[in-house]
Symmetry: C2
Subunit: 239 residues, 2 copies
Amino acid sequence: MKKGRLILIPSALAESNGTAQFPQHTLEVTFQLIHFITERAKTARHFLKSIGYPHPFDGVEVMELNKHGEDNLNELLQFCEQGIDTGLISEAGVPGVADPGGIIVREAYRKGIEIVPLIGPSSLLLALMASGMNGQNFHFHGYLPREEADLIKKIKTLELHSKQDDVTQMFIETPYRNDKLLAALLKHLAPQTDMCIAANLTAPNQSIVTKSVELWKKSGIILGKKPAVFLLFSGKLHS
Amino acid sequence: MKKGRLILIPSALAESNGTAQFPQHTLEVTFQLIHFITERAKTARHFLKSIGYPHPFDGVEVMELNKHGEDNLNELLQFCEQGIDTGLISEAGVPGVADPGGIIVREAYRKGIEIVPLIGPSSLLLALMASGMNGQNFHFHGYLPREEADLIKKIKTLELHSKQDDVTQMFIETPYRNDKLLAALLKHLAPQTDMCIAANLTAPNQSIVTKSVELWKKSGIILGKKPAVFLLFSGKLHS
């Protein structure tokens, strides 16, 4: 029997985006599915409703990745094994990027399941595009260390590598810790290093700004709990 | 006077994609523009036609980045300075990622021009999503060195760093050199290292496969001139 495919479905980055930020092809493929793997079922159902998902949820299987864990990947992929296409939905943005979706995709490959990524919003990609930094050499680090000494060391290392290799350094933070991270960045980076802060992406109050650490210091910025992507660059751009 | 915005417009990765892979919002914003900065005017016009761009081209300004060069960024951004929104279109995929668009975005920031990235297809993002590798730590390197000794050294370094830091290593190659790169990868990587090859993304014959170097060797794969993204991973995945 032919196995079902694992369909990677991008979800909205901000509330009230509706369908306008999703390609017709992404919507059509998603609307054909009635089996989903999600991080949180509630968020996923909310997202599906927001894009006009046409089926009543009582006939829809929404499994949670967290509740199953690595030991239960078999359970999550059972419908694919039965020949049924299954959607993987992240909490926000594209599955498998800045989230633990890679684990289930890897297991799908082991089982000979076809993977189909759909096109949609990614905060990392939008931030990188709009940063004006090097898009030909970039490194996403996820979250930086929380312990202060480790954080300072990491910030200095990222800045040095950016200068040496012309690499754009990207990272994120839990929103309630944004301003703590920002303070450390402004304190420990060189004044001429460029920093991009991309906040509230795709929302009406989206803000993407790149300027030197020196100018950020003067701006008196407070991020609050806005979801944000941070980028650093202290190298040279080549055409 | 309020300056015009620089709108970053994703373009198709493959022929005949039409509008189905572009969000309504991306199409609507693009259709309102009549000034574009492109790598090649011909490709950009072809793309605009393919998504149903409604204006006759004799009233449309299509500037070429290459012909202007870094010295002439002022010329390219002249319409933004005059208060007119201008679109930036890459040869394929999103501007500023795996292309030299960063230079013009950086100059736009210097001039106080607002940057607006639109959602659309990116081969790097689709490949990473579907790789089953680490999406919480990844590094895109652009093109690897061409000279054989440098290439071998680079391949070994990427593999070692992947193992040490659990980082996914991503790179691309000019299509006509694909099989030469592939031969070097299969020769110099450890058998248990995972490699993903994502080829012909978004085309009807799209192929995305992750398996160990050992299994790739047995597969007898020949890539030919398919546009492809390569990914390596020799680390561990964490949930």
